[in-house]
C-alpha cells in the first residue's frame, strides 16, 4: 500500500476523493450496477420491451430447459469452444516460441501477426466471407489444386460451425501470441544457460524449462480464451446469422435474437444468467484443476 498524500487534512481528502471519483462512480452505478439489478429482476418477468413486465417466477428458466433451440445453441457454443480453445492455445504458443528472438525478421513478422488484433470484426468477416465463397473463394481454389472437391463452407450445415471456428482461431491467435511473447520474456535466461552446461538438448529445454515455466501464462490463455469463446457473437451474426437452419446458433447469438429481434427480453436475460453460470463453473473448475499442472516459479 502506498502512502497517502501528506499535508492535506483527512477531512479534505475525503471531499477531494469524492470530487475526483464522482463521475466514475456515477457511471459505475448507471452503466453497471443498475443494469445488473435490471438483469436480475427482468429474468423473472415476461418483459417484451413494450408492455409492463409481469412477474413469472422461474418460468423463463424452466422454458430454457425444454427449449430445443436453446439446447442447440448451447451445444454449438460448447463445440465451438472445444475447437477454438485447444487449437488457439497450441498454435499461439508455437508461433510465439518461434518469434521469441530479438531480430529484425522477428520484429517485422510480429506486425503481420498483430493485424487481426486491431482490425474491426466486420472487416475481418468480409474478408472471410470471400475466402469461404464456394465458387471463387481462395480456400476452395487452393484446395482444388490438391484435387479437393469444392466445399460449401458457410452454406452447408455440416461445415458452417467449423468455418466459424477456423475464423475464431485465426483472429484470437493474434492476441494470445502477444500474451505468450510477454510470458516467454519473463523466463530467466540463466535457466537455459545452466541446462546447456548440463548438456540438455533444445527439445529437453523446451519440455523441462519452457513448458513448465510458461504454464501460468498458458493458464491465463486457456481461462480467458474459454470466457471469450463461450460468448462468440460477431462472426456468427456477420457471416451466417445463425444459419443454415440453427447450425451456428450460439448462446450469445440466441440472447441477441431473443432480446432485439423477437423482443423477448425477459427470456433473453434468463438465458444470459445461465450463460454466466456456465462461464463461472468452467472458470472455477479451471482454477481448481490448475493446482495439478501450473508451476509458479518462485
Amino acid at each position: 500500500m502506498s502512502r497517502l498524500l501528506g499535508g492535506v487534512p483527512k477531512k479534505k481528502q475525503i471531499s477531494w476523493f469524492l470530487i475526483l471519483s464522482s463521475l466514475s462512480l456515477i457511471l459505475l452505478i448507471v452503466t453497471f450496477y443498475i443494469p445488473i439489478l435490471y438483469a436480475i429482476w427482468f429474468a423473472f418477468t415476461d418483459y417484451d420491451a413494450l408492455s409492463r413486465p409481469r412477474f413469472v417466477g422461474l418460468f423463463n428458466f424452466q422454458k430454457a430447459f425444454t427449449d430445443k433451440v436453446f439446447w442447440i445453441s448451447f451445444r454449438n457454443t460448447l463445440v465451438y469452444t472445444l475447437m477454438v480453445v485447444p487449437l488457439t492455445t497450441v498454435i499461439s504458443f508455437l508461433i510465439a516460441l518461434a518469434l521469441n528472438e530479438n531480430s529484425a525478421f522477428s520484429r517485422i513478422m510480429r506486425l503481420f501477426y498483430l493485424l487481426p488484433l486491431v482490425t474491426s470484426s466486420v472487416a475481418i468477416a468480409f474478408a472471410w466471407r470471400w475466402i469461404y465463397n464456394p465458387s471463387y473463394g481462395i480456400l476452395n481454389t487452393i484446395l482444388g489444386l490438391f484435387g479437393v472437391q469444392p466445399i460449401r463452407w458457410l452454406v452447408s450445415p455440416n461445415t458452417a460451425l467449423v468455418s466459424i471456428a477456423i475464423l475464431g482461431i485465426w483472429s484470437s491467435t493474434s492476441y494470445y501470441i502477444l500474451i505468450y511473447l510477454a510470458g516467454l520474456q519473463n523466463i530467466p535466461e540463466e535457466l537455459y544457460e545452466a541446462a546447456r552446461i548440463d548438456g540438455a538438448s533444445g527439445w529437453q529445454q523446451l519440455i523441462h524449462i519452457t513448458v513448465p515455466l510458461i504454464s501460468p501464462t498458458t493458464f491465463f490463455v486457456i481461462v480467458t480464451c474459454f470466457i471469450s469463446a463461450l460468448q462468440v457473437f460477431d462472426p456468427v451474426f456477420l457471416l451466417t446469422n445463425g444459419g443454415p437452419g440453427y447450425s451456428t446458433y450460439t448462446v450469445t447469438f440466441y440472447i441477441y435474437q431473443n432480446g432485439f429481434v423477437w423482443f423477448r427480453m425477459g427470456y433473453g436475460m434468463a438465458i444470459s444468467w445461465i450463460l454466466l453460470g456456465l462461464v463461472m463453473i468452467i472458470t472455477a473448475v479451471q482454477f481448481i484443476a490448475q493446482k495439478r499442472w501450473v508451476h509458479y516459479y518462485a
Partner: protein, 274 residues
C-alpha cells in the same frame, strides 16, 4: 552445427508460412477493393487487380454515407479516448493517493464488474438507455462505454509506483489537490496516456455490437455498423465490401505501424480484445 541451421531454416519457414496466413486476407481485401464485380469473381482470384479502378471507393462516399459514418466513428472514438484518459486518471489518482473511509471495499466493487461478461449487460443497458432517452444517439453509444474499470486500475497502479514527493512539495507550495493532479501528476503520466489511449482508440474504432443496438438511423451509424449494412445491400459485390473494409482498417494499421511497441506492450498488459 548443421543440425542447428537446418532447425533455423525450418523455424523461419514456419514463421513465414504462418505470417502469410495472417497477411493474405488483407492482401486480397486490398486487391479486390480495386476490382469490378466481374473481376472480383474470377477463378482463380487475381493476385493484382488487372485494371485498377476507384469505382468502389467513389460509390462508398457517393451512394452510401461513408463520410458520415467516418465522422460519427471519429466522434465516438475521440470522445472515448479523451473521456477515458481524463476519467480514469482522475479516479485512479483518488484511489492511489487520497483517504476515504471504505476505500478498499469501493475498489473491490469497481473491480468486481470486470468479471461480468459483456453480453449480460446488453439487454439491461438498452433498457437504461431508453429510460435516459438516449436511443439512436451517439451520446448513448459513448455514455455506456465511458467507464473503463481496467483503465482506473491501470492508472492507480502506475500512480502508486510514482514518487509522492513532487506532489507533497506542490502541496507545501499551496496547491490544492486538483492543481497537484493536473500540474504535477498528469504530465508525468504521459507514457501511460499514450499506451492506454492507443488501446481505447482501437477499441472505440472497432466497437460493433453496442452501437449496432443503440443506433437505428443510417445518419447516426458508426463505421463498423454502416459497414455491416454493406453485406445486405451488396451481397455479391465483394469489391464494395472490401473497399469498405479497407477504409475501416487503414487508421488502425497506420497506428499499428507507428506505435507497434506501445501497442504490443499495452495489449499484452490488458485483457482488451473482445
Amino acid at each position: 552445427m548443421r543440425k542447428r541451421s537446418l532447425w533455423k531454416i525450418l523455424k523461419y519457414a514456419f514463421l513465414s508460412f504462418a505470417a502469410l496466413l495472417f497477411f493474405l486476407p488483407y492482401w486480397f481485401m486490398v486487391v479486390i477493393s480495386f476490382e469490378t464485380p466481374q473481376e472480383a469473381s474470377a477463378i482463380p482470384p487475381h493476385w493484382l487487380p488487372p485494371s485498377p479502378t476507384l469505382r468502389n471507393y467513389v460509390r462508398l462516399f457517393t451512394q452510401l454515407k461513408f463520410g458520415t459514418y467516418i465522422l460519427n466513428s471519429v466522434i465516438v472514438t475521440v470522445s472515448l479516448v479523451v473521456g477515458q484518459i481524463f476519467l480514469c486518471s482522475l479516479c485512479g489518482y483518488a484511489f492511489a493517493r487520497l483517504y476515504f473511509p471504505g476505500k478498499s471495499v469501493l475498489f473491490f466493487a469497481l473491480l468486481a464488474v470486470l468479471m461480468i461478461p459483456g453480453v449480460m449487460l446488453l439487454i439491461p443497458r438498452y433498457i437504461v438507455l431508453r429510460q435516459l432517452g438516449l436511443t439512436n444517439t451517439l451520446t448513448g453509444v459513448i455514455f455506456f462505454q465511458l467507464l473503463s474499470v481496467f483503465g482506473i486500475f491501470l492508472y492507480r497502479q502506475q500512480i502508486m509506483s510514482m514518487p509522492i514527493e513532487f506532489e507533497e512539495a506542490a502541496v507545501c507550495d499551496g496547491a490544492n489537490v486538483i492543481q497537484v493532479f493536473y500540474r504535477v501528476v498528469f504530465p508525468l503520466l504521459r507514457a501511460v496516456h499514450t499506451s492506454f489511449g492507443l488501446l481505447v482508440f482501437v477499441y472505440g474504432w472497432n466497437l460493433f455490437l453496442w452501437p449496432l443496438i443503440v443506433l437505428s438511423s443510417p445518419k447516426k451509424y458508426t463505421l463498423p455498423v454502416g459497414l455491416a449494412q454493406l453485406q445486405g445491400r451488396y451481397f455479391f459485390d465483394f469489391g464494395m465490401m472490401m473497399a469498405g473494409a479497407v477504409v475501416a482498417t487503414i487508421p488502425v494499421i497506420v497506428l499499428l505501424v507507428l506505435f507497434q511497441k506501445q501497442i504490443i506492450k499495452s495489449m499484452a498488459y490488458s485483457g482488451l480484445k473482445q
